[in-house]
Symmetry: C2
Subunit: 257 residues, 2 copies
DNA sequence: TCAAATGTCTCTATAATAGAACCGTAATTG
DNA sequence: CAATTACGGTTCTATTATAGAGACATTTGA
């Protein structure tokens, strides 16, 4: 059983996004179809604790500095920048496309580390970005290696179509995942964004459970030809192997182990 | 009026620190002197929403990936890395000590950006670190330029002594702050940590209210001599002036403006 | 100049929470 | 190896905090 008040409050917090970073009390109440009194109390409480701040003139609320602290703590705990990021940077340089690490978190994949391509046109994504597991190479790579019951949970959780290419039919998805699992990698075009391609490979914990994926992505006009794809997969798998070795060696304990 | 349930829950969250990143239900309940049922419900609710995760074997809780997202959003909003960080890096190189930017947040100063010294022995601090405003050069610099009633609030909020050098007597503090305000900078030794010196200067918003400070810090054995100090202050003030110009120019809107 | 929208506050029926007691399991210890 | 302690999780009900409508003073904008 969960606390309803806290649950609602966290739901409110989720409306503070990159697209909508500031909210007025009644504005947010209208958006959520909730009484403005309730929203007011929630926002005021978050503000009291430094999780939100209120602009003294506009009276609107936005995320507070408290999140810097917590975000940094999570980052420190993941401890990817010392060993994993350099590997990713090398990869990005070799392939000349952006490389990113996606972590499994419930029914989402979360971008936890990025090495951007040096090209002027490149795939770009923020740390902390959250994507449903049925969308795109980085996420489907993870989903493919999950137990069947987890796959079902994720599909039951709802498969939103965000581009025409997004797969939303359960049967089609299962067939696709099966193929990914067998070949050990995933290649997609236009699923996450209509102008992006991606190639992903999985990463596992010591119990051989999938916990993350390593993915390269770039603009669709640079997508690999059928002959070039195996080579790209090879390079990516080599990088993943190095990261995997680090996970194994240091008995990478954080999350799902 | 604030929501008690949410308030308590956020208080619980604050126990997840760098020093104590993982907590079991009863362990945390004991620490907080609260029934373990209550703690359990709070932790379970946070976990449900991805703000905490539970280790499947030890059953202990730690911060979840959701904070990566929020932390990054706050960082993006501050938008310091493009213009301010390079200035800080230049400063750090010129002075050969670490330089950091501290933001006013309630009764605390929060480290929001860092340029580390290239020396092997250097002052090091994490982004998001929160320090009471009465401690150290970076914080006292801010406090000195706050209105008197805010100073009183901060002192009433409690002045913990964390080193022998920490000033905790209100009268002594006020005299110290007055001096800082008049000279426009602050030099401290051993207040934050017994082995650290710091020199700080204030930064203001468009209404001339203090919102942050720029500080250099290093090991106490490299602290500037009385003759060298003015030069160091000069270099620091020059950097601060550049940052200030950026704040003014781009009508730096985030927080306290 | 008037009307609509805003953040904040007050009130009370109602619904959610606190906290003790309990459960089965896992770890610890004599 | 048996007994004890500690653990996360659950159930129960008296108590308490919350939901939600409404009012208020300001501000905004037509």
């Amino acid at each position: 059983m969960t606390l309803k008040t806290l649950d609602n409050s966290l739901e409110v917090l989720k409306y503070f996004s990159k697209e909508n970073p500031t909210w007025g009390v009644r504005e947010l109440a209208k958006e959520m179809n909730i009484s403005h009194s309730i929203i007011y109390r929630i926002l005021a409480t978050f503000e009291n604790q430094g999780f939100l701040i209120q602009h003294p003139e506009t009276k609107k609320y936005e995320l507070g500095l408290r999140f810097l602290e917590y975000g940094q703590m999570v980052k420190d705990k993941l401890n990817l920048s010392d060993f994993v990021l350099p590997i990713m940077k090398n990869l990005a340089e070799a392939i000349k496309e952006s490389v990113f690490l996606t972590w499994l978190d419930g029914t989402d994949g979360v971008t936890v580390e990025i090495a951007e391509s040096s090209q002027t046109i490149k795939f770009s994504v923020s740390i902390g970005t959250r994507t449903p597991l049925h969308i795109g190479a980085s996420c489907k790579t993870i989903m493919a290696f999950l137990p069947d019951e987890r796959k079902k949970e994720i599909m039951d959780h709802g498969m939103k179509k965000i581009t025409p290419e997004t797969i939303t039919e359960p049967d089609k998805m299962l067939a696709d995942l099966e193929k990914i699992k067998q070949q050990g990698w995933c290649f997609t075009t236009g699923e996450y964004s209509h102008s992006v391609f991606g190639v992903g490979v999985p990463l596992f914990n010591s119990k051989k459970e999938v916990i993350a994926s390593l993915t390269i992505a770039g603009p669709i006009y640079r997508k690999p030809t059928e002959e070039k794809l195996p080579e790209m997969v090879n390079v990516l798998q080599y990088g993943a192997m190095n990261i995997q070795r680090y996970f194994d060696q240091y008995s990478f304990k954080l999350y799902h182990e």
